[in-house]
Amino acid sequence: MEKLDVILKVDSILKQFGKITAVNNLSFNINRGEIFALLGPNGAGKTTAVRMLMDIIKPDEGKIEFYLKENKSSHIPLASELGYLPEERGLYQEIPMIKTLVFMGTIRGMEKKQAQRSSEEWLEKLELLDRKNEKLSTLSKGNQQKVQFISSVLHNPSFAVLDEPFAGFDPINQEAFLTIIKELRDKGSTILLSAHQMHLVERIADRVLLLNFGKNIAYGTVDEIKKDFSTGEKIIIKFESKPELSLLLNDDAVEKVEFINDTEIKIFLKQNKSLSGLLNKAASNYKITSVKTEQVSLHDIFIERISKDKGDGNE
């Protein structure tokens, strides 16, 4: 019997397409009721990993075990227990959206009436109920995305995979969907999401897995990953004139320096190093206009880790 808080256990999965290793010996667990973010650059193997979880393709090696029912041993999940919003997505354009949603609910195990009721509730929530009999092609891209989202969760799945759920939305709708995803989690669904909007992921994800070249390069809560990140604080200094970078790079406290523009630079500090020496050096050579400190973001970690990780030549 597995630990009860684990809903999905992925053990050393590997998938190759010809000479390319898309997913390389990947292991991770997802806990019941959490929002788990799968991150990585394009081609990192996220979609392949997700397709294996959804049983669309089979892993060449390794095991995927679901524990969707509490106090039960691992089992093959039912279609009705899973929700899937794929990255490669679309719906029938020339059919009234309510018909498509009812069909999607039916093939996920819902009775027709139940699917109709659930579809209407979701359409009302997303302010589309009065347009339910319109063809999907008549909707804007954002509204089509909403319908696509509904099709993946209308059957109230225990485990939902949302690949790029914020894509195609304006900032207001992105915020709205942040709330909707949290509500789904609060109602008992476990969510695996993959997204490129790091600032949103950081706000919503309980745990994160960073993937590159099909391998795990960072895994844990956002705080744990930040703690493990080699740099500490981040400061942004604005000078009156363009500074000489070598002067700052030679300082012991500095991990990395990036120009934001000619007179503004971003400095990543090494962990547990003092700012005072660096600021004194900078102030004695240049006139400083402003200084501000920032926490290292998931975005920074993502960029840093991916740029450092060159893979192991598996292609």
Partner: protein
């Protein structure tokens, strides 16, 4: 994908219903029937109407009518008015004033003159009547009776005696019916293939495949598609068949002389043709669902031309019209690639032993079963391939794997 307590049959039927409803438009079917009836009404009813209410009788003056006994049918528009030579000038004036339509002057049996204002539409009918009258007079002069002459020109009489079947030779109407049936079958197959192509390649292009593949197994999906679109082909075919019957019935009301041969209305034959048509549609739809799944863009893919493959068995079926009982046709009516059209034609034209029908259907169903398994394998591996089509080598590998 595991669908738990929901039976595969229920899911397959859900997909079949979805596919059928996606493409079936009741309004279009009603319009097809109405158009068929309207065209028949327009062509044959219009012709009858024009003939009934159009121009009045043609008044033709015949001078010296004693020379030839001109006999016209009761339905003829031409009305012959007998006059003599001394009245010619007066009649010419009437002709100029368009009060009569022509003057026929019989100088002698072989010397006839027709005076008209313009080329007459009734010339053919008049010429036929004059020829007949001339022949009658010439026969009387040569002392040959009509029977003797008929006997000379009669075709050789051959008494037909069939050893293979008890059935009489096929009538022209039966051959035409069989030809129409082949045409309808070809239409049904092509309609099914077109919908199959549009449905599958459309779903690939709209990126719907992954959403559905995560909910149901590819084999359930393809089974539902094949079932739904085959049913759609059948319904469209029935609509066209009914349209053809409506066309013939409406035309016969207005005297086209067309009718439906009694042998074609035999319920057993209709049931047999129905089963064979459904099997044929299932076979070809299964074959093409696998091909369609490998196509990324139907506008540029060379594989779209494979849609023409079903033309070959249908063309072969046309050869069966002239010789339905030949050994070649008997073999082809058992061979799954050609059996559905060839057997259909043979059933309309000749008596096919029950065992032959049974063997043909069993072989066809076995082929459909294995083809379905192969199509499911090819479909499941191809539907998620965007932008790249699997090679024939890959397809043949998947085909081999499906048999294991």
């Amino acid at each position: 994908m595991n669908n738990g307590n929901i039976s595969k049959i229920k899911l397959t039927l859900e997909v079949a219903k979805w596919e059928f409803n996606r493409w079936f438009k009741l309004k279009d079917q009603i319009i097809t029937l109405l158009i068929s009836a309207s065209i028949s009404l327009l062509i044959f009813g219009g012709k009858a109407f024009i003939e009934k209410f159009s121009d009045d009788k043609v008044e033709l003056i015949i001078i010296n009518s004693r020379v030839l006994p001109v006999i016209l049918s009761n339905e003829s528009k031409i009305k012959l008015l007998k006059k003599e030579f001394d009245e010619i000038d007066e009649q010419k004036k009437l002709l100029m004033g368009k009060e009569i339509n022509g003057i026929l002057i019989l100088y002698d049996v072989d010397n006839i003159e027709l005076i008209v204002n313009k080329e007459p539409s009734w010339f053919g009918e008049l010429q036929l009547a004059l020829t007949s009258a001339q022949q009658k007079i010439k026969l009387e002069k040569s002392n040959i009776t009509t029977e003797q002459l008929k006997n000379i020109f009669q075709q050789a009489q051959i008494k037909m005696n069939y050893t293979e079947t008890k059935r009489e030779g096929s009538s022209t109407a039966e051959k035409v019916s069989a030809g129409i049936f082949i045409g309808l079958m070809l239409l049904g197959i092509f309609l099914g293939l077109s919908y199959q192509f549009v449905a599958i390649t459309g779903e690939k292009q709209l990126r719907i495949t992954e959403v559905i593949a995560s909910a149901i197994s590819p084999i359930t999906w393809i089974d539902g598609k094949i079932l739904g679109l085959s049913l759609l082909s059948l319904v469209l075919l029935v609509t066209f068949a009914i349209s053809t019957v409506v066309f013939i019935l409406v035309s016969s009301i207005f005297g086209s002389g067309w009718s439906i041969p009694l042998s074609v209305t035999n319920p057993l034959l209709i049931i047999a043709l129905f089963v064979i048509s459904v099997s044929g549609f299932l076979f070809w739809n299964t074959f093409f669902s696998a091909i369609a799944a490998t196509i990324s863009d139907p506008n540029t893919s060379a594989r779209s031309s494979l849609m023409m493959v079903p033309v070959i068995p249908v063309v072969i079926a046309f050869y069966a019209l002239s010789n339905p009982d030949s050994l070649v046709m008997k073999i082809l009516s058992l061979f799954p690639l050609t059996s559905s059209p060839v057997l259909s034609v043979r059933l309309v034209l000749t008596d096919v032993p029950f065992t032959e029908i049974l063997i043909s259907l069993v072989l066809l169903f076995i082929s459909i079963w294995y083809l379905r398994k192969a199509a499911g394998k090819i479909f499941s591996l191809s539907i998620l391939m965007y932008g790249k089509e699997p090679s024939w080598k890959e397809i043949s590998k998947w085909f081999r794997e499906s048999k294991k």
